[in-house]
């Protein structure tokens, strides 16, 4: 038995190590092990990360709030009187009840229903019933200080209308966390005040990381999604780019429409059955009617930020997708669709019509839910095997000027393993001969 094999089988998670330093194999165990899941909640979602909470546009007024999940931690994010944003862990400091029960709302203060402990929108304790007792009896000790019993607060920063929170004690700045690639592409899309168009929610029977692998993987996109390939909203033969952050966890994948030609597409898709169907035509072509918001020709762009955010621009559809884990083998995906405040009715209508392409019922999105469900289903009984992630080759995890690569997926696993303290002991350790089976 190889040493890596031994480490790989290790049941003590403090000794569990990734099988290779190229992150070209992912142990299936990480998708189904409940101990690993608990560790993720602590080390990833409550660890050195910034998690996406909400759009500023969802909180239009002072006191507006939204309830979200950051990993398995319930969080409420609010807009303050001064226009800033705050967030707290939604669990009463007294006996642990959920304080804010509504998904959305507006309130100056939040009273826990259980014993009426009352908090400001920022989470400070502002009222305690019977603090000094009733008729001189009962009450809290004299040294009880409300300031010491507020809700646990998150660090909050926002950029271009996206609000992020962090539960670590001393996080670096959000901008340092996001890095230049993410900044550049958020700058590209989020150019004006946003207008929320509504929500899609999807509950997929798959581990949350399978979804992150999926959206960081441009290799599958031109192959799984016949609609994208046939109509050219995304094709592997198009001019495209794959950008990855220094830590590996964030990425950007995009392609430029109209940069390939029929002959080239036919050549590269000739061995892929039924995915590029030149005889497939829509009865109503207005579905794909596209009035570009930007003049760079990008028809499909997916930004992902470790560990819970996806930002999409697919034709005119703009959305954030928030990934909420629901245990080792399930996840909730919340899509928030938006346009710009100054959109005219025609442009709004284009965005709404194109929602047929995306979301749980979308022509080019429904397959992702199915693909990752199939993975979750097939790995259930597996204890040792790994996946194989080497499209685009091994070596440094860096940008590529094409989309025939799984480099972003390797980048994701690199940041994941390092955050989870699962990284190989020695960088550059030899890759195992083959997947363990």
């Amino acid at each position: 038995m190889q040493d890596s094999d031994y480490i790989f089988r290790e049941h003590d998670l403090d000794r569990f190590r990734w099988p290779d330093a190229d992150y070209a194999h992912t142990p299936y165990r990480v998708f189904k092990d409940s101990a690993i899941y608990e560790r993720e909640m602590e080390k990833v979602f409550r660890g050195p990360t910034w998690g996406y909470l909400a759009l500023e546009a969802e909180l239009p007024e002072a006191g507006s709030f939204k309830s979200v999940m950051l990993g398995n931690t319930p969080v409420v994010v609010s807009r303050e009187e001064d226009g800033s944003f705050s967030a707290f862990v939604n669990r009463c400091a007294h006996r642990g009840a959920t304080v804010v029960r509504e998904e959305f709302g507006k309130a100056d203060t939040h009273a826990c229903i259980y014993h009426q402990w009352c908090y400001s929108s920022a989470g400070d304790l502002v009222g305690v019933p019977y603090r000094r007792g009733v008729s001189g009896k009962g009450g809290y000790p004299k040294d009880f200080k409300p300031a010491q019993h507020g809700l646990r607060k998150l660090h909050v920063e926002s950029y271009k209308g996206l609000i992020f929170g962090s539960l670590q004690n001393e996080p670096g700045t959000l901008m340092a966390y996001l890095g230049p690639h993410i900044k550049e592409h958020l700058d590209r899309i989020l150019v004006k005040p946003l207008k929320v168009l509504g929500y899609h929610r999807q509950r997929i029977s798959a581990n949350w990381k399978l979804y992150f692998e999926n959206i960081k993987d441009p290799y599958h996109a031109g192959l799984l999604h016949m609609f994208a390939a046939t109509f050219g909203t995304y094709r592997s033969t198009q001019e495209g780019y794959t950008l990855v952050s220094d830590g590996g966890g964030h990425s950007i994948v995009y392609s430029v429409m109209g940069t390939d030609d029929h002959d080239s597409v036919s050549e590269h898709y000739k061995d892929v059955k039924d995915k590029y169907q030149t005889d497939f035509q829509l009865n109503d072509g207005t579905l794909l009617q596209w009035t570009p918001d930007f003049d760079d020709g990008i028809g499909n762009l997916i930004i992902s930020v470790f560990p819970n955010l996806v930002v999409q621009q697919i034709l005119n559809t703009l959305a954030t997708r928030q990934v909420r884990p629901l245990g080792p083998d399930g996840m909730e995906l919340v899509w928030t669709f938006f346009g710009f405040e100054d959109d005219d009715d025609t442009l709004t209508d284009d965005r709404l019509r194109q929602l047929n392409l995306v979301g749980p019922a979308g022509y080019i999105s429904m397959e992702d839910g199915e693909a990752i469900r199939l993975v979750q289903q097939a790995i259930q009984g597996e204890t040792d095997a790994t996946s194989f992630i080497q499209m685009g080759g091994l070596g440094p995890i860096v940008d590529a000027d094409h989309v025939v690569t799984e480099v972003c997926t390797r980048g994701f696993w690199k940041q994941y393993a390092q955050t989870m303290e699962f990284a190989p002991r020695e960088e550059g350790a030899p890759v195992p001969e083959k997947a363990h089976d």
């Binding site: 929610r201 109503d284 022509y363």
Partner: protein, 160 residues
């Protein structure tokens, strides 16, 4: 208050709803667009959007050609979880009439069964509809299905 339509017409409305569900349940998707007028609107909207006045829908087909496209896509393009549907649709309530157009409402549930014969509640909701009375058959001019089960289990492929 009496119903704005007579018993025979009401019966045709009931049959419309039941036959609509049955066509989907037996995977006769090709028959589905025929339940609509040429210029019909078919919209599945999450209840949270509907209740908050947000316009984003899950499916929004405008005209029969877009309905046809969805059928063709399901048959030839899209890949989704293999399953069977079964609609349970309440008796219809006729809420209004304007000439040959009826306003109608039904509650619905859809049960979905996987290949091992395990059935789960897939969707519950209400549909606010307009129906055109034609000589030969009734057709939907407008279906607005408000989906309570907006935490869509896996994905929404076959129409509700």
């Amino acid at each position: 208050m009496t119903s704005p339509i007579d018993g025979d017409l009401y019966q045709r409305v009931q049959d419309l709803y039941q036959n609509y569900g049955h066509a989907i349940d037996v995977d006769d998707l090709e028959a589905w667009p025929e339940f609509f007028t040429a210029d019909a609107r078919y919209c599945v909207i999450p209840r949270e959007n509907h209740d908050r006045g947000l316009p984003a829908a899950l499916i929004d087909c405008r005209g029969r050609p877009m309905l046809l496209d969805r059928v063709v896509a399901l048959r030839t393009a899209n890949i989704y979880n293999i399953h069977f549907d079964r609609h349970l649709v309440s008796p219809a309530v006729i809420t209004g009439r304007d000439g040959d157009v009826l306003e109608s409402r039904v509650n619905f549930t859809v049960m979905q069964t996987d290949q091992s014969g395990v059935t789960r509640l897939f969707a519950a909701g209400v549909s606010y509809d307009r129906i055109r009375v034609e000589e030969q058959r009734l057709r939907f001019l407008d279906r607005r299905l408000v989906l309570d089960t907006y935490g869509v289990p896996e994905l929404l492929a076959t129409p509700l």
